[in-house]
Symmetry: C2
Subunit: 263 residues, 2 copies
């Protein structure tokens, strides 16, 4: 079964590099460890047509989940849920539960519900609001055909709190039954171009394994590679066994090339 995930991290400040996109790394890592296969992370300007076009593109690929971050706030360019509604051909409506969540927060401070505050209670029709224990704007959980579209705020501490308390427990129920185990080690003295045939060979020989080298030194003058090995499958013992075998085989073959294993 398809267990693909697409991530959308939205906001001009992201594409223009005014911030480093730590949300993308947070979500990519969490989803991978849950067993999902993260296909893409797409950052876009706050442009409703652009966002809805690329959401539609992703929906045509029928991923299991799409996660969006950013654009849930009260300002003129916080229009992510409008784009989600457009892409899924739904209306954006005031959600009663979301309205209560937002109103409760402003009530406590004696502040009235203005147009900008009501805006944060508008979700695509049929969506479930995701409580925001840290900030104000609720998130949105929307089922659309085979895909669940989860929209979260862009502020990292809000996103992370909502992920831990609400999203991840629900994703565990629909996550693929896929164990993911990984191991990294470093080797010196082997250029990446000499390691390449070994990697290719190992990838051919084993199923459910992914191997990648990341150069950390200089290819010719002082080669240093970080070797990343990931094994996956639905039986933990078998996955662990493959991981160990692959790591040992790689280390052995790198040593034969004159490599020195570091840690």
């Amino acid at each position: 079964m398809n267990s693909n995930a697409w991530i959308f991290t939205l906001g001009n400040e992201v594409v223009e590099g005014r911030i480093v996109n730590t949300n993308a790394a947070f979500l990519g890592r969490k989803l991978s460890l849950l067993g999902f296969s993260v296909i893409a992370n797409i950052s876009l300007r706050d442009d409703i047509n652009l966002i809805s076009k690329l959401l539609k593109y992703a929906l045509l690929e029928k991923p299991k989940i799409i996660i969006t971050t950013g654009g849930l706030g009260p300002t003129y360019d916080d229009r992510t849920l409008e784009a989600v509604a457009l892409a899924t051909d739904k209306k954006l409506v005031i959600n009663n539960d979301a309205f209560r969540m937002v109103k409760e927060k402003y009530d406590k401070a004696g502040l009235p519900m203005t147009e900008e505050r009501i805006k944060m209670a508008k979700l695509p029709e049929g969506a479930i609001p995701i409580p925001n224990p840290v900030g104000t704007a609720p998130g949105s959980w929307l089922k659309y055909n085979e895909t669940v579209i989860i929209s979260l705020p862009g502020v990292p501490r809000e996103l992370e709190a909502m992920w831990e308390s609400w999203v991840e427990p629900r994703l565990r129920k629909i996550a693929p039954n896929r164990i993911v185990l990984e191991h990294s080690f470093k080797i010196s003295k082997v250029p990446e171009s000499s390691a390449a045939p070994i990697l290719k060979n190992v990838m051919k020989k084993y199923c459910g394994v992914y191997v990648k080298t990341h150069p950390k030194g200089h290819e010719v003058r002082g080669p240093l590679l970080e070797v990343y090995v990931m094994a996956f499958g639905n039986n933990e013992k078998a996955v662990n066994n493959v991981l160990e075998r692959v790591v040992n085989e790689l280390k052995q073959r790198f040593k034969e090339l004159g490599g020195e294993i570091i840690n």
Copy 2:
């Protein structure tokens, strides 16, 4: 004239969140300050069909430039230039200049040109190789209709060195004549939902201005906003003038709401 830029930051380690995507921030920032309008940053798995499909999608939007990072190395899944060739309907061929660049580096270390090393000299037909002063794999500069597709390595120190020494000087020649000036300040005591109508109003009133609030505190219990103002145009004095006027007007109006300006 269109001065749009799309960035592609490629690699499983990026989408899976095993690294934080600092290349995206580096390129987004550099391109914005050169006056380009960065539309999208797309991170994708090392999947040649996926990459070429989304490159084609971007090419249909006819941006001025597309930059790719990652996937230029010697291993089995370094296939970005193959994807670029596929998306632009060109052949991937050994480029003589690129071959010389790569060969020279291995010659110095007394290493022969293997299949994996020759692979790094293969560029889409018609591309110009970009010298890599720090690593081994050259980059690629390919004109395709209205778009220049620039492919750089994923290792940040290689990408940055190639950007500074070769790419940016050439982009300056085709960059839009657009001055971009920016200013940020913080205000406390104003919830973002109260600031929203002011922002909307200012955006309507001024041309060539972009204003955005980033919440750094708690909307109700202790509001703290970072206010970002960007002004652009082709006359530096005029742009600076608008920037100052907008910043002053915003500060004034936030004060009227009981806000306190910080720095």
